[in-house]
């Protein structure tokens, strides 16, 4: 029985955070593997820790999704200190009164489910930072 991250770029532990592959030449960041940098064609990458708080720079409230996907939910893009991160806005009501452009958010994790071996998948999202 163990906790497993929903994706490999989520690092669990006392301070959960996201990690990207950063081009050592130009600093471009990617959440999946690349053979060469899409920005500068460099071929060397290193791990980079992504800031765990940021600003919501785009969002939508999805009311209609593929079967099995619970709705409504807030999908968005968070500017984490210069790195754009895709994720849901969680721990708040999914409506336009509670979610706004430019709102400050921070990374938060939650349990997604448990498999037959008792392993628990941990997901992540961004929750509002109370002013």
């Amino acid at each position: 029985m163990a906790a497993v991250p929903i994706v490999d770029y989520l690092v669990l532990g006392d301070e959960p955070h996201l990690v990207a592959k950063q081009c050592t030449s130009c600093g471009a960041r990617f959440f999946d593997r690349r053979n060469a940098c899409a920005s500068c064609s460099g071929t060397s990458f290193e791990d980079a820790v992504i800031a765990t708080s940021g600003e919501l720079k785009a969002f939508t409230i999805v009311a209609f999704a593929a079967p099995g996907v619970p709705v409504p939910f807030v999908a968005g893009v968070v500017d984490c200190d210069g790195t754009s991160v895709r994720g849901n806005v969680i721990n708040t009501e999914p409506d336009a009164d509670h979610v706004s452009l430019g709102m400050k958010v921070r990374l938060a994790t939650y349990a997604v489910g448990t498999d037959d071996d008792g392993n628990e998948a941990i997901g992540f999202g961004f929750e509002p930072i109370e002013n």
């Binding site: 785009a58 430019g102 498999d115 998948a121």
Partner: protein, 401 residues
């Protein structure tokens, strides 16, 4: 100096539900009508470019040849997301421009009625019984809905919201007003899938798909085809005066893909490649945005139309909301946009769209648009974008003959 290229004949089918026609029937209908419109036959064609996205591996071009004429000419089957039609047209244009042939046929066709939500990953996947990392992100379960959304309405909603965050001036109501305009325009287009005028209240009160896009603010999945015959300037001079008079000059034909941008890996960047395509097209054609008498742009969602006012240089940078609020993009405005009704009402049979918008512009430049004619139209622009991404921009001019 390369020879000029002209549209000799062009046609679009009625967009909507065609349960009695298959993909080839629709493609053949548009192709035969485009050939007839140009006063030519398959015997005159030196190349065929055929676009279809949903059956991209089916060899739609060869199937079409069996339906309307097998002459042994090269066929290019193309697929480029929502830019598939524009890519087919550009393929035919490149063949003629290179001098390999004098005339070519481009066709785009799609059967999409009842396709439902696109991009949502299809059927539901139940959580795996054992969490094992899979795929490029090492995901242990489905991430759609957990880490953002893959649905097209949701992706394009964010694109509009991102613009609002950067420049301000946007609101649910503003985006709904764009849809109100396009639905109003559609009432004059007999080939549109939907021709019903809708009030702002009806649009905002309709079923929410992905805030701020309600159902009428989303492009309509439907069936349809469009086809165009392109000809070299030299060959056109040998044709009849009537053919020369109705021919429409392709002043610019541009296709771009998206260059790297910081956030494009996370949310598609539809802006940079559209700006690049527009800049190249204006340079090729020697025209500026102020010269455009009408624009057909890719309003796959109301939130998308707004950003493309800016991307195509129709307004100053950051000024898209003010530009729309000025009334400029209504059919009686300074720069009429989507007088066809746009994808939101005309419909969006994916691979047909990038030729159907050319047809709309040609129709006005030829003075044949009937009730919705933009009077005295001389120059028009057609734009499409397919996620991934690919952007096609064509600038068309009324024939001088």
């Amino acid at each position: 100096m390369a020879d000029d290229i002209f549209i000799l004949g062009i046609n679009m089918t009625k967009f909507g539900k065609h349960p009695d026609k298959d993909t080839i029937d629709l493609a053949a209908e548009a192709a035969m009508a485009a050939l007839a419109d140009g006063g030519v036959t398959m015997q005159d064609m030196g190349v065929l470019a055929a676009g279809n996205l949903m059956e991209a591996a089916a060899g739609i071009g060869q199937q079409l040849q069996k339906q309307i004429g097998q002459t042994g000419i090269p066929v290019y089957n193309v697929a480029n997301a929502c830019a598939t039609g524009a890519t087919a047209l550009r393929t035919a244009i490149m063949a003629v421009k290179s001098g390999e042939c004098e005339m070519g046929l481009a066709v785009g066709v799609e059967k999409l009625s009842g396709a439902g939500l696109l991009g949502g990953g299809g059927s539901a996947k139940s959580d795996k019984k054992v969490f094992e990392p899979k795929g490029r992100y090492g995901a242990v379960t489905s991430t759609d809905g957990r880490i953002g959304t893959n649905t097209m309405p949701g992706v394009f909603a964010q694109i509009g919201m991102e613009y609002g965050h950067k420049y301000g001036g946007t609101s649910f109501e503003l985006f709904a007003k764009i849809s109100e305009k396009n639905h109003a325009h559609s009432t004059l287009n007999p080939l549109a899938a939907y021709t019903k005028k809708m009030t702002l209240e009806e649009i905002m009160g309709d079923m929410m798909i992905a805030y701020p896009n309600t159902r009428p603010m989303c492009s309509a999945n439907c069936d349809g085809a469009a086809a165009a015959v392109v000809v070299s300037g030299a060959k056109l001079k040998t044709l009849s005066l009537e053919q020369q008079r109705r021919a429409v000059k392709v002043s610019a034909s541009v296709l771009t893909s998206d260059p790297w941008q910081e956030s494009c890996q996370v949310l598609p960047d539809v802006n940079t490649l559209t700006k690049m395509a527009a800049k190249q097209a204006y340079e090729q054609a020697g025209v500026s945005p102020e010269d455009l008498d009408l624009v057909e742009l890719h309003d796959c969602f109301a939130t998308a139309e707004l950003v493309h006012y800016d991307n195509l240089g129709l307004c100053e940078e950051g000024g898209a909301a003010d530009f729309f609020n000025s009334g400029a993009t209504w059919r009686d405005g300074k720069t009429p946009v989507n007088v066809s009704g746009g994808l939101e009402s005309k419909g969006h049979p994916i691979a047909a769209t990038g030729i159907a918008n050319i047809w709309e512009v040609c129709h006005h430049l030829r003075g044949e648009a009937g009730d919705r004619q933009i009077e005295g139209a001389k120059v028009g622009l057609a734009h499409v974008i397919g996620l991934g991404s690919a952007c096609g921009v064509h600038i068309l001019e009324k024939s001088a003959a």
